[in-house]
Symmetry: C2
Subunit: 475 residues, 2 copies
């Protein structure tokens, strides 16, 4: 089980100006009773509406998805050297997080004989240099694009970036393989309707479902994340088991036994009563760093809202920030300790790495002799504890999430803990954690600028808003 250590959020560690009053944790107090009520509420809504994600790790979806994903992966077995995920936002960030957490950083460089599954690219942008470079690389390998699998992920099929990517690869595959090109595409999309569904049926692609009621940022434990994971040898059953076990822990009505409720309470309370509106997530492990990008979307898009459920203007939300220990000690810690005290610093540490690197004796130079005979894991652990201490000394609220080890089971726990934390935080803020109305305007303006029929007025509006007096230097 992951551990949440939250002592450094309280006044007895960091003083009353920036730390919370420990009395807030009184099991008979308002906070604890309020949380118990929210837990009941979440129990009553679980699996319904936009909270269907809570059932992804449980039957019947669990077995349905595991079976479908494994069948699709089996159908691809031995046929591909490279796999490219086409998607953006919730269709990409979970995949990036799983691959980087659970496969080596050198995965794409390893020889096929030792690599688990195909090389993997998750191409979540329409930068032509990047996208073109990845396609060129795939085409340059033995077998070329015929040995490349494209996993297109889009519930609707209308996300502009993913649609553009898909149109490019479909054209290239068709030129190469004609009608058979569908053998190189696995689509994850709406099981019944939408643009991508219609395309898949017309072209005969293998498809996997984005289940109803599962929004993009809550979809990593669905086929959206499971298929690419399975292709690259990740133990997807353990991933779901970790999520399921964490769900049970986070169903406790007792605040001090429920890590999701506690995290949500701490972050919202520190945000609202102490002005800590920037929420840093700083893993002390390279492989967990990109989980922080997945968390960034979850936390920002779910909670960043300017209306509460009653329609009042609130400008809610916190700014999630990713950092990496020890690396960012040499970049951000000066600011985190001496700059504005506007952050909660979430650290992530790993008890046992799957390997260690001994720091050998023999150099014999006094100033650094203390390192001889130790190991990188012990240095990493010492730096984390030293930094935690330095934060406490500067009265900066912080907490630690501890992984016993990095594996699919504990990554599943981590993911679901944050998803459930987000659900609690939405309730505490009184906002809808499941919509994203503010991204619509940019999409419509893009349509207008790209000449989509019916969106001409948006082009006019853009030109007007960005016209008039310009102010530039250079060029």
């Amino acid at each position: 089980m992951l551990t949440l250590d939250y002592a450094n959020c309280f006044a007895d560690r960091i003083g009353p100006s920036h730390g919370l009053d420990p009395a807030l944790l009184d099991p008979t107090g308002d906070v604890a009773r309020g949380i118990a009520t929210l837990t009941q509420k979440l129990t009553s809504t679980r699996g319904k509406g936009w909270e269907r994600w809570r059932e992804l790790a449980f039957e019947p979806m669990r077995t349905e998805h595991l079976s479908a994903v494994r069948a699709a992966a089996k159908g691809c077995e031995g046929r591909f050297d490279t796999m490219v995920v086409l998607g953006i936002g919730g269709s990409a960030l979970g995949n990036i997080a799983l691959q980087s957490a659970l496969n080596p950083a050198t995965h794409n460089l390893l020889d096929a004989s030792v690599r688990k599954g195909p090389r993997m690219f998750v191409v979540d942008n329409v930068d032509p240099t990047y996208f073109g470079g990845v396609l060129d690389f795939c085409a340059s390998q033995p077998g070329g694009l015929k040995r490349t699998l494209f996993n297109v992920i889009s519930k609707s099929g209308e996300t502009a970036e993913t649609a553009a990517q898909f149109m490019v690869i479909r054209d290239r595959l068709k030129a190469l393989m004609g009608k058979d090109h569908g053998a190189n595409v696995v689509a994850v999309t709406d099981p019944r309707q939408g643009t991508m569904r219609r395309i898949c049926e017309r072209e005969g692609y293998v498809t996997l479902p984005v289940p109803d009621g599962v929004g993009g940022r809550f979809s990593v434990l669905s086929p959206v994340g499971l298929f690419a994971a399975a292709m690259c040898g990740i133990d997807i059953e353990s991933l779901l088991q970790g999520a399921a076990d964490m769900d049970k822990t986070c169903s406790s009505q007792e605040l001090t036994a429920n890590p999701a409720a506690m995290l949500a309470f701490l972050l919202v309370e520190l945000g609202q009563s102490k002005g800590k509106t920037n929420h840093v997530l700083m893993p002390y492990a390279n492989s967990l760093y990109l989980l922080a990008d997945w968390y960034r979307q979850l936390w920002a898009e779910s909670l960043g809202k300017h209306k509460d459920l009653k329609g009042n203007t609130v400008f809610a939300g916190f700014t999630p920030i990713k950092a990496l220990g020890t690396t960012d000690q040499h970049s951000q810690v000066q600011l985190y300790r001496e700059g504005p005290n506007d952050k909660v610093l979430g650290m992530v540490e790993v008890e046992t790495f799957d390997r260690d690197v001994a720091i050998p004796a023999g150099l014999g130079v006094e100033a650094i002799a203390y390192l001889e005979g130790t190991s990188m894991s012990s240095l990493l652990a010492a730096e984390k504890r030293a930094t935690e201490y330095a934060f406490v000394e500067s009265q900066r609220p912080n907490f630690t999430i501890r992984f016993p080890r990095i594996d699919a089971y504990h990554v599943g726990q981590f993911i679901n803990m944050w998803q459930i934390t987000t659900a609690y935080a939405g309730l505490l803020l009184g906002i809808d954690a499941y919509d994203q109305p503010a991204v619509e305007l940019g999409k419509q303006a893009t349509f207008g600028l790209m000449g989509r029929a019916g969106y001409e007025s948006f082009k006019t509006a853009v030109d007007k808003a960005l016209g008039g007096k310009g102010r530039t230097i250079g060029g």
Copy 2:
């Protein structure tokens, strides 16, 4: 020349609650006169004390460094398939930025016949899984570690992470090559003194200088960044020429002709008078994304200070945040538009990419037919403009830095613009932009926890501060 478009920081675009009064730009007003005074001050201190970095792109350092770096690179020619930079913070972030900006994302995957220079890893952490994995990969290649160059970068040699990395690779190389192991090490360090200097002299390593008066975060245009760049085919002379030309532009006493002065004024003024204390840098180009990590260190560590130059408590500084367009439109833009209006959103765009990817006709699906016959670069440009518009509609201050194209010359401009901006911002905030006192405590506590003689009291202090009542869930 890069363009800075800053119109969207002003009230005539985004309203008076969040935008600055255009009257502030009056060429005869207080702001313009204050900036002119600061420009004079910076002219008088350039090249002195900790502002020696300002002379890196000029003679005599320019030719000295170019010659030394080229000679060192020539000495390595043909001998290495892989290069590993060992360093952290300012010794790593500039190298990561240059490599990702100016070499393809697939660099390490390319065949030696098309790759410019060796494979490149910048290993800026002591995560044992990551570090061990990279070493294993190097060792597994034909020729093994004998074909691997280690570029250790540390001014003092006492940075714990870099020292640990160095001790590991020295041991492995010695076991393999004995006294000849120095042929696989190029060190960038203090030219005269310090622990690493003494080691280099004892072991006979090739060295390049970290010049006096050039701090880590201002060192990318010194051999710290130039050597790895030269090894991988980056045009280091153009890089310095871009920096030199930008220096001249940023020496203008006229606020509206000096992009560094303008950026510093806008960011400090929006921070102090409008509460925009989070500063986002969001390139619309994958290859420029990691320049934002370099910027994060520069901005956070230089300006995050709790004392001004007179010793008053100030808690100065802004929180730099990196984001990527279009990717983060699907992750952060909901928050950036509807959440707390506490940010300045800096966008970076590229006028002409070095290639484009056509979006072909032929799919024939109405909802996405508007994309047919367009291109990824035009979609990227439309999304950027649409997002800029959406920010303006939400009264969010924002600016755009435009690259005519991505090349060494313009990357040099970008780097030096931000360095000079930081110098101005330090003066405007009245703080010392060149120290980093708050990182010391964590270093000392690490020494204590690692058992370094003389630091026992820090271990005691850590145990005391983090002892007492614990609060945890799970484990």
